[in-house]
């Protein structure tokens, strides 16, 4: 069981890395972009397959605020993922160029851009939901005490600073118009450093993760206040 969980976390880390590479369409060639998309699709299938226990429990038990939040995030995730995959397949120029549904119209391109940008945010929220779980996991494998100063003060401080920077990067890179079909063709700076791109998009993801943690905190806080 523990071995399986380790593999799952490892594949999640790889998935995050692929996600950032996909957002950087210009960092790799179009051909690689399509392959990475395909690999991510397969890994997501695997991810869902390994977590069927969550799906099985879907109709059991009561729904508290946290569970509703988690379910809505995952449902959104599924929808956006499907629209990103379908529009991606329609746009494909290398792997599936002559598919019957191939279309390079403005609409398909915009759907693809909007859904992947929403997807990044929702994936970040999804990550935030599991943040505590992942933190416990890394504490265990690296033998760090969860109540140490590192885990309770230093790391949260570092991550919050990165998350705030992520909001700045989101604004500075003008990501908002992408979410609302405002962009015809994405802008990619072919001269910027690859490291900076990964860093910025990692920070943006981290801000999303922190956002969902704040949401969770607000919910549990309200519940505690009620008691």
């Amino acid at each position: 069981m523990r071995r399986k969980y380790q593999c799952q976390v490892l594949s999640d880390v790889i998935m995050l890395f692929i996600l950032l590479s996909l957002m950087g369409f210009h960092l790799w060639s179009e051909y690689i972009h399509e392959w990475l998309g395909t690999i991510l699709f397969l890994m997501v299938m695997l991810h869902v397959g390994l977590n069927t226990h969550w799906l099985q429990k879907l109709f059991q038990g009561e729904y508290c605020a946290f569970r509703i939040l988690q379910l809505s995030i995952n449902a959104l995730l599924l929808l956006l993922f499907l629209s990103a995959v379908i529009s991606g397949v329609m746009l494909s120029r290398h792997l599936l160029p002559d598919l019957v549904i191939h279309s390079s119209s403005d609409l398909v391109r915009k759907v693809h851009m909007a859904s992947v940008h929403w997807l990044q945010i929702i994936i970040a929220l999804h990550l935030g939901i599991h943040w505590r779980m992942l933190a416990n996991f890394f504490c265990k494998i690296w033998h760090i005490s969860p109540v140490s100063v590192l885990m309770t003060r230093i790391l949260p401080l570092i991550f919050s600073v990165i998350a705030v920077y992520g909001i700045y990067a989101f604004m500075q890179r003008e990501r908002l118009p992408y979410l609302f079909f405002q962009v015809d063709f994405a802008f990619f700076d072919f001269d910027e450093s690859m490291f900076l791109f990964y860093w910025d998009f990692f920070a943006i993801t981290l801000s999303g993760a922190y956002l969902s943690q704040i949401l969770i905190w607000l919910m549990t806080f309200r519940q505690r206040a009620r008691r």
């Binding site: 390079s104 015809d184 994405a186 802008f187 990619f188 072919f190 001269d191």
Partner: protein, 214 residues
């Protein structure tokens, strides 16, 4: 005698200066090369806003890159050269998208109507184009392969649909390694080309360019 000499010197110098000024601004003989593909859309409807590269300005219809080229010409007094292909491109938006995509996929270099023979007459070449599928349109590849722009200053400008210069600067550098490529090119969104401020914006950009170059 000394006074006369100084006076003479002063006169020569000032007249030299007077001559030097216009000569200096004309010293850079300028060519403005552009590729522009106007699209047929209804200009009075919403369609014009959705970003087709057509422009109706002062009752004249032109492509948006063409319009930019004309403004640059007004400021610099350079000569205009329009890159035209033997086989014309579709004028409707979606067919044009598809056509350009297929052309890129096949890596097809379209045949150009004319070639510039007197390139030696120019020192400074403005080069303008839209961005199609994150690249320069293929006619630009044809043009850059058929002409030797070594030693000339290349100044790019584009009317784009959001992707600014995309990878085109890198491609120009690759195709013309011995040209001096100015990287502070002018990138205007095709949605903004028709704005009233565009003329002054082009002027400001040109001023900044000359101050950087001197």
């Amino acid at each position: 005698m000394k006074k006369i000499f100084i006076l003479l010197l002063a006169v020569t110098f000032s007249s030299l200066n007077a001559i030097a000024e216009p000569v200096n601004s004309h010293a850079q003989r300028t060519l403005i090369v552009y590729f522009s593909q106007p699209e047929n859309v209804k200009l009075d409807g919403v369609d014009g806003v959705s970003g087709a590269s057509i422009l109706q300005k002062n009752g004249q219809i032109s492509g948006s890159t063409q319009y930019l080229a004309q403004i640059i010409q007004r400021y610099t007094g350079g000569e205009l050269f329009r890159i035209e292909t033997v086989t014309p491109y579709p004028t409707q938006h979606e067919p044009l998208l598809r056509y350009a995509e297929q052309e890129q996929r096949d890596n097809r270099y379209p045949e150009l109507k004319t070639k510039i023979d007197n390139l030696t007459d120019y020192d400074r070449v403005f080069i303008g184009y839209p961005i199609w599928w994150y690249k320069m349109p293929m006619p630009l590849y044809s043009f850059l392969q058929q002409h030797d722009l070594s030693g000339k200053t290349l100044i790019p400008f584009t009317s784009h649909g959001g992707s600014r210069f995309s990878d085109s600067l890198r491609e120009i550098k690759r195709l013309q390694p011995d040209a001096r490529l100015v990287t502070q090119g002018l990138a205007i969104s095709r949605d903004d080309v028709a704005d009233d401020g565009t003329v002054t914006r082009v002027g400001d950009w040109l001023n900044k360019l000359t101050s950087v170059q001197q």
